[in-house]
Symmetry: C2
Amino acid sequence: MKAKVYVTIKENVLDPQGSAVQGALHTMGFEEVGKVRIGKYLELNLNTSDRAEAEARLTAMCEKLLANTVVEDFRFELEG
Amino acid sequence: MKAKVYVTIKENVLDPQGSAVQGALHTMGFEEVGKVRIGKYLELNLNTSDRAEAEARLTAMCEKLLANTVVEDFRFELEG
C-alpha cells in the first residue's frame, strides 16, 4: 500500500520560507504570484493490506514524527 | 487562481532525508514502513485568470527556482 502525506503550515502561522520564495519570484519577474506557502510531501510504502489499520498507524506517525501539530496540519491519501 | 506544486526527488536519486525518516519510524515501532521519499509541496496564489498562460508561467517558475531539475521532478495542479 502506498501513502501520500501532505504536511502544511497552519493558516495563521507565519511561513518565512514561503515569503522568501514569493520575494524571489517577484524579483525574477513573476509579479502575478501572491501568497506562497511551503509544506512537505512524503511518499511512504507500507507493507500492510489493512486500510483501516494503515490509516490509524499513519495518523500516529504524523502526530509523533512527520508533522509538528503545534504549527502544522497534515493529511494523507492511501493507494492500493 | 490557486496552484499546488509537488516537487519530488527523481526515482533513481538517493534520498538521505527519506532514509533517515524511515529509520526513525522503524525505531519507533512502525516496522511496516518501506521506502520513504520526501519532497516539497507548495501552494501559490496567482493573480491571473488565463489558465494556459498560468501553466506556462508555472513551468518556468519550477524550472528556474522551485525545483532543481537535475535531481528533482515537478508537477502542478491549477484550481479556480
